[in-house]
Amino acid sequence: MADVHLTRELLWAVLRGELTPSVVTQVGLEHLMSLCPTCRKEITEFQKERRAATEGDYSRALQILPTLIEKQLPRMEGEQRDATRDLEDLLPLSREERVQRVERARSRFRSSTLVRLLVDESRKRVYESREEAFHLAALARLVVHRNPRMPQSFDLIALATAHMANASRAGGNLREAEDHFSHARYVVTHHGVIDTEILAQVDHLEGSLRMDQRQLEQAEELLTRAAMFYQVSGDKVETVRVLITLGTLYFFRGDTAPAIEATTAALNGLRDNHEPRLYLCARYNLARYLTEGGQYCEASDMLAVDEDLYRGFPEPWTQLRLGWLRGKIAFGLGQNGEAERIFLEVREGFLAQGIGYDAAMVSMEDLAVLYLREGRVEDMKRLAEEIHSILQAQDVHWERRRH
């Protein structure tokens, strides 16, 4: 934690009432202790005196610690086992039945471990079924509400609410997402949420909403702070995930250089064998940004190095995007014939997968530019008709909304 600075983002967040001052105090004290020997000595002495005054002999505590752990460990394992069983019993039920089971139970479905497991399930399902993800996060919140004595109850309410908001966002309901985030933020500020891992998740998820709303400045602030909190809580993988999101944000904004910088930093904190999907995502994004920045040879070299990695993800979604990037690189290197062949193949692949939006984007972003640059007027007219058919088939009418 000592390497985390007391940044403007943190201080403004306290002033705006988004964070409690205790979080900043904690970060500031750790940082001060790492820099100044006098402060470190004074604070350490103070902590010792305080412990001695309140808890007596510290060595006594050390003596009883192993016994305490021995006693607590089975309890924790038991809690994990019970929560897993609760989750397994809930998941096969319909949504209404799950709510009824939780509401009617007297002793089961009450633990904070179950709340975290439900939130994890919500997170896993957010892109396959938004309704299910929303329901699971709401169910997690219901579990907290049913047990007022649950430790860290407000932290968990903020966490579950942020995941409800995220499911709304993923489902395209940005207004509903905004409402849930307001509630999560209220709980964070008024009920003293200081769990850095939860604060990081709330910031990360809200940052994604601000990106979708194209409030890029606010998104950048939230994502930067999320990265800092993940660092504080020691979660390297989540720190990497936020850095990748930050890279995407810069790319959307048209800032290729910081996008490359953030994604390179993310890759430095990651090994492919630990989180292969995340690693692939970061490597792909970096090659994409290099291509956009005109560094075609570097991007091409990256794809060559990563051949085995991509082979590990044979599903069409990944392979089509890889092909699309290869086409862009070929076009950038002036290999127009090869680029056109790849773009047409990728477009057909997207159509076969029912992903008409991406098929239309390959047509407009790349094929149209290629035909226009080569002055192929008739091909361009035919392509425009094809784009029209694809968008119509996908029920995409945005193009008509011109003012």
């Binding site: 972003e365 007219k381 425009a384 029209h388 193009e399 003012h403």
Partner: protein, 41 residues
């Protein structure tokens, strides 16, 4: 359809296509967005 009309009239440019792509990307997460073509400078 804007792109069809412009292609038929042979008035489509790389810049116009890129504006449209940018708009489509943004409108994907904000359906209330309306396309407004920049005037040629």
């Amino acid at each position: 359809m804007l792109i069809q009309e412009a292609a038929r009239q042979e008035q489509l440019t790389v810049k116009a296509v890129r504006e449209l792509v940018k708009y489509l990307n943004e409108a994907r997460t904000d359906p209330s967005l309306r396309f407004k073509r920049e005037e040629p400078s």
